[in-house]
C-alpha cells in the first residue's frame, strides 16, 4: 500500500459526471467556502447543542481531523495547478509554508491523505488520527474513524472508492480495486478487500456480510465507535 507523495506520480483525472452512486461527488467551489463548511460540520458533530463562533474556531486546536481535511483540500488544489502558475515566486513561497503545515499535520495527527483522493463535502476524518488514506474518492457525509488504512493491493495500482454516507469504524484496513456502496457500514477492525453493496453492513477479518438495509445516519452523527455485530443485530 502506498500513498503517492510526489506530484509526478499523480494522474490528472477528472471525475465522470452522470454517476448516481455518489462516489464522484467533488467538493468543488472556492476553497474557503468548502473549509468553512467543514468547520460548521465538525462543530455540529462536537457540539450537537450548538456552539458559538469562539468554540467553532477553537476546534482548530483540539480537532486534528479538521487540520487533516484542510491540508488535503489545499494539497488537492495545489497539484492541479498549471506549471506556469506553480512556478510563480509567490506560489513557491506558499508551497514552502504549506510544507511546514503538512509537517504540523503529520506530527499532530499521524495521518496522511493522498492528494489525488477526491473528497466530498462534510466528511469527518477522526480527531484521533493515525489514518493512512489513499482512496480514489470519498463521498459526501462519510465518517472515517481512527487508525484506518485505505490503499492499493500489493503490486497493483487500483484504489478503493468510498461512496457517500459511509461509516467506517476504527482499525479497518480497506484495499484493492473495490467500491463501498452508498450508506454502507464497515464495522471496527474489519479487513475489507471486496465490493460492499449500498446500505449493507460488513465486518470481520476478513470481512463478511452482516446485514442489509441498515440506516447508519444516527451512527454518523454520534461519533460513537463502540459498535459490533451484537449492537447491529439489536437495531
Amino acid at each position: 500500500m502506498s500513498v503517492p507523495h510526489r506530484v509526478n506520480e499523480i494522474a490528472h483525472t477528472t471525475p465522470p459526471d452522470n454517476d448516481a452512486s455518489g462516489v464522484h461527488e467533488v467538493a468543488a467551489g472556492p476553497l474557503w467556502s468548502v473549509v468553512a463548511e467543514d468547520m460548521r460540520h465538525y462543530a455540529e458533530l462536537h457540539y450537537p447543542a450548538g456552539a458559538g463562533a469562539l468554540r467553532r474556531w477553537l476546534l482548530w486546536l483540539h480537532a486534528p481531523g479538521l487540520l487533516v481535511l484542510f491540508v488535503h483540500r489545499v494539497h488537492f488544489r495545489l497539484i492541479r495547478q498549471s506549471p506556469a502558475r506553480r512556478n510563480r515566486p509567490a506560489m513557491i513561497l506558499f508551497r514552502l509554508l504549506f510544507a511546514l503545515v503538512r509537517g504540523l499535520r503529520l506530527v499532530v495527527s499521524k495521518s496522511d491523505v493522498a492528494p489525488i483522493a477526491v473528497i466530498g463535502r462534510r466528511v469527518y476524518l477522526s480527531d484521533r488520527g493515525y489514518q493512512i488514506l489513499g482512496p480514489r474518492r470519498i463521498g459526501n457525509d462519510t465518517v472515517i474513524h481512527e487508525r484506518v488504512v485505505v490503499g492499493v493491493r500489493a503490486g497493483a495500482h487500483d484504489r478503493p472508492a468510498i461512496s457517500a454516507n459511509v461509516w467506517i469504524g476504527p482499525d479497518c484496513v480497506i484495499y484493492g480495486d473495490i467500491t463501498i456502496g452508498r450508506g454502507a457500514t464497515v464495522l471496527p477492525g474489519s479487513v475489507l478487500s471486496m465490493d460492499v453493496p449500498p446500505g449493507a453492513v460488513v465486518g470481520g477479518n476478513p470481512a463478511t456480510f452482516v446485514r442489509d438495509h441498515f440506516d447508519n445516519s444516527a451512527l454518523r452523527r454520534s461519533l460513537s465507535t463502540r459498535i459490533d455485530r451484537a449492537w447491529i443485530a439489536a437495531q
Partner: protein, 192 residues
Amino acid sequence: MSAFSEAVRADVNRHLDEETGALGARLAAIRHNEGLQAVLVYRLGRELIARRRSVLAWPLLALGWPVYALLHALMRACYGIRLSLTADIAPGFYIGHFGGVEVYNCRFGERCSIGAQTKIGSLDEPAGPSIGSGVWIGAHAKIYGPKTIGDHATIAPGARVQKNIPENALVVGDPGRIVFRGYQTHRIVPGV
C-alpha cells in the same frame, strides 16, 4: 565499504525505482519517506552499538548517542515509528507508512517490507519472532512471540500470526491461517 554504508544504501534503494547513482534522487527519497528516515536512525544506533568496543571511536560515540537518542525520540513522537535496537534487521528494510509501527525484540532477514500499524515483537515471552528474507507484512498485522516465518512469506493486512509459517505461504485473518502455499511475493512486489 563498511557494513553500515552497505545497509544504508540497501535501505535507500528500496525506495528508488531503479538503482540510480544520483545523490539528488537518494536525498529526495529520504525527504519524502518517513519510514526510511526511521530506518536510517535505527542503522545509526546499531552502528554505535557495533563500535562500542573500539577505543578510538569513543569520542565519536559520546557525540553519537545523544544525537541518536534525540532522533529516536523524534521518530516515536512525530511519526509513531518505534524501531527498537533490540530488533536485528538485515539491510533493505522497507516501512511503507508511518503511524503505530512497533518493531522490537525480533529478527528480520534481508529486503523485508512492513506497513502501517504493524506490531512485531514479544509480549511476555523472552524470545521474539524470527522472520526470513523477502517477507511482506501488510498494515495492522501482529506477530508476537517466538514464531518463525519462512523466506518470501506474505502476511496479509490485519493478520495475526499465531504459529510458524513456512516459506512462500500467504497468511490471512485473525487468527491467521495459511490460505496458500507457493504464493510468490516477488511476483507482486517487484524487487523483493
